[in-house]
């Protein structure tokens, strides 16, 4: 699945005074193309607009300008019900920070995305594989409040992968992880790309570039392809 962002921008009106309203950009108009089988990195400092771009591409933040196409599918023109179902089946999104449902165990959190559009296929085995791969075997029945930051992050990664998505968006996926786990996560995402998945990772870790097929840099809302 090819993702085409054309002229996408996120702006807001700044109230500078009684009469003067100036337009300010969180994301300046950009074109971006994400292709299957590639890991694309978006690097940049905090506040540069990386997460905004990721949210727009994932259909979570409507851009002020431009379009986002998944092949020929214009996600912001679709009905919410239809696109939500599409997102559930095709997009794995790993948000920044704590993103687990507090009332569900690790296993239940992972399975939640699968069960939402349950087509009868049992994803329990797949969940067990991911739990094992991400080192959460002894934490499978724990609730989020009983987990460390790294474990929460790994659980969110497993949840994003449970439906074998065609696109993965990861916002600082290794922020809370040690070197070993960082390696495991990037290997896993690299492996998903090899299987034909389009992977977009937002990070500020320059050292992770070695896992990338394409590297973009964000600076003050502007995007540049650097490699």
């Amino acid at each position: 699945m090819v993702i085409n962002g054309k002229g996408i921008a996120v702006s807001y009106t700044k109230n500078a005074g009684k009469k003067i309203n100036s337009k300010s950009y969180a994301l300046k108009p950009v074109d971006i193309k994400i292709v299957p089988g590639e890991v694309s990195f978006i690097l940049g400092r905090s506040g540069s607009g990386k997460t905004t771009l990721l949210s727009v591409l994932a259909g979570l933040l409507k851009p002020s300008e431009g379009t986002v196409l998944y092949d020929a599918f214009d996600i912001y023109k679709e009905k919410d019900d239809d696109f939500s179902l599409f997102r559930n089946k095709n997009i794995g999104f790993i948000p920044q920070g704590q993103s687990l449902i507090q009332t569900l165990t690790v296993r239940e959190n992972i399975l939640l995305q699968a069960r939402l559009s349950d087509s009868g296929s049992d994803k329990s085995k797949k969940a067990d594989e991911l739990i094992n791969a991400l080192g959460l075997l002894d934490r499978a029945d724990y609730f989020p409040k009983e987990l460390s930051g790294g474990e929460i992050r790994r659980c969110a990664i497993a949840r994003a992968l449970i439906n074998d998505p065609k696109v993965i968006f990861a916002d600082e996926p290794t922020g809370d992880l040690d070197d070993d786990n960082t390696e495991i996560v990037f290997d896993l995402l690299r492996q998903k790309a090899k299987e034909g998945c389009a992977v977009v990772i937002v990070t500020h870790e320059e050292s992770a570039i070695r896992f990338a097929d394409a590297v973009y840099r964000m600076d003050a809302g502007s995007l540049k392809l650097s490699a």
Binding site: S84, T103, Q113, D118
Partner: protein, 398 residues
């Protein structure tokens, strides 16, 4: 993991949040259900009393205390007795417009083996009575023989048991339904039996009548007026034409009680509405604030594929379950308290108080349940609208 269980899990596992909301819902339920049952009980009691009085006019001896005694008997169950000359019955025949008259005889037992307190004995005339027999027949449909009595619902004796009054043994042949009035603690028998009891008491040295013969006295007379005649005019005719008696219109006697009851009902209604408005606002605000606190959780649900509709449904389901649970708990607590302390409330009120029957109570339960659950749903809907109106991406950036 079943996705449908998520609302229930959110409710069960977020204990503090759930407890806070349930407490507000219980207050709402208690004010509505408890208040309604209380007002209905007061109205039931007054209706029941008016039905039991069953006459247009009551005739009493013309001393200042007889009316107070009768009111105390009816409202608080305080036993009392007073007498006047039986010849008054003949004089009443000369008053135009009177349809029915029936005398009654009051006596207070010194002690009875059923009870730790004095018992009111009310005797009626089997031939002329039209006020007691209609509802006495609910529990006993034959004529009372000598030494047979029917007891009020609050006396701790049963049909078939024997009861001694002034040393005379009586057979309990019927027990009346609860009326919520002082009449629940009375014993009913024939006028002749009361006269015999007065004699028995005097044989034991207990002086009840100073000089008169028990056969020559009555305590009160119940009068019904012929159709087309003005009750107030007949009351005036009796008071002006017959010495030593005081005719009181039955309704007038209960006017002050009805007025008190109206005031109490009005104040309670205002209280219910006030509590409801405040508690409802607090509930809506609480749901709204909780939605604010949970916005990241909702954003995550959107990320994994919850549509706006599905998210709204989740929030609405949670609020409906909470509303239903809160109202059920509130109804059980309030109902248990009100029905358990029914006797205590009754005795402290000095007002007729008759709790609604099972069907009426079920109606109140249903109305309260629907109202509180509906309010929970409305609060949830407001929260759901808030939750789905924000861009998920904006919340994730925060």
């Amino acid at each position: 993991m079943n996705i449908r269980k998520l609302p229930l899990k959110n409710i069960i596992l977020q204990k503090k949040r759930t407890a806070g909301l349930i407490i507000i819902l219980i207050v709402l339920t208690a004010s509505m259900f408890g208040g309604s049952i209380f007002i209905r009980s007061l109205n039931n009691g007054l209706d029941s009393l008016n039905q039991r009085l069953g006459s247009d006019i009551i005739l009493l001896p013309k001393d200042a205390e007889s009316e107070v005694d009768l009111k105390n008997l009816l409202l608080q169950g305080t036993p009392g007795y007073f007498y006047m000359d039986k010849s008054i019955l003949n004089e009443l025949e000369n008053i135009e417009g009177i349809d029915k008259i029936s005398p009654q005889y009051f006596l207070v037992s010194a002690n009875a083996d059923c009870c730790s307190v004095k018992v009111q004995i009310i005797g009626f005339d089997e031939k002329t009575d039209f006020t007691i027999k209609p509802w006495l027949h609910e529990s006993y449909d034959r004529e009372l023989s000598d030494n047979e009595i029917i007891v009020g619902s609050s006396l701790s004796t049963r049909v078939g048991h024997k009861l001694k009054l002034y040393g005379v043994e009586f057979l309990v042949v019927g027990k009346l339904e609860k009326t919520g009035t002082g009449l629940d603690t009375a014993v009913y028998t024939t006028g002749d039996t009361v006269k015999n009891l007065i004699k028995a008491a005097e044989d034991k040295g207990i002086s009840i009548l100073s000089k008169q013969n028990p056969d020559d006295v009555i305590s009160s007379v119940y009068i019904n007026v012929k159709k087309g005649y003005d009750i107030d005019n007949i009351v005036s005719d009796i008071n002006l034409g017959i010495d030593g008696v005081k005719a009181v219109r039955s309704k007038t006697m209960m006017t002050s009680t009805a007025d008190r009851l109206k005031t109490i009902s009005f104040l309670i209604s205002i209280l219910i509405v006030t509590i409801w408005v405040f508690a409802a606002l607090i509930l809506i605000a609480a749901f709204y604030m909780i939605t604010g606190e949970r916005k990241r959780e909702f954003a995550v649900l959107r990320v994994i594929g919850y549509s706006k509709k599905a998210l709204g449904r989740l929030i609405l389901t949670e609020s409906v379950i909470l509303g239903a649970a809160g109202s059920v708990i509130g109804i059980v607590i309030t109902g248990t308290a009100m029905y358990s302390f029914n006797i205590l409330i009754n005795s402290k009120l000095d007002l007729p108080y008759l709790v609604p029957n099972a069907i009426s109570t079920a109606v109140y339960v249903l109305i309260t349940f629907i109202s509180v659950t509906f309010l929970g749903a409305v609060s949830g809907m407001i929260s759901a609208l808030r939750a789905v109106s924000v861009d998920t991406g904006k919340i994730l950036r925060e």
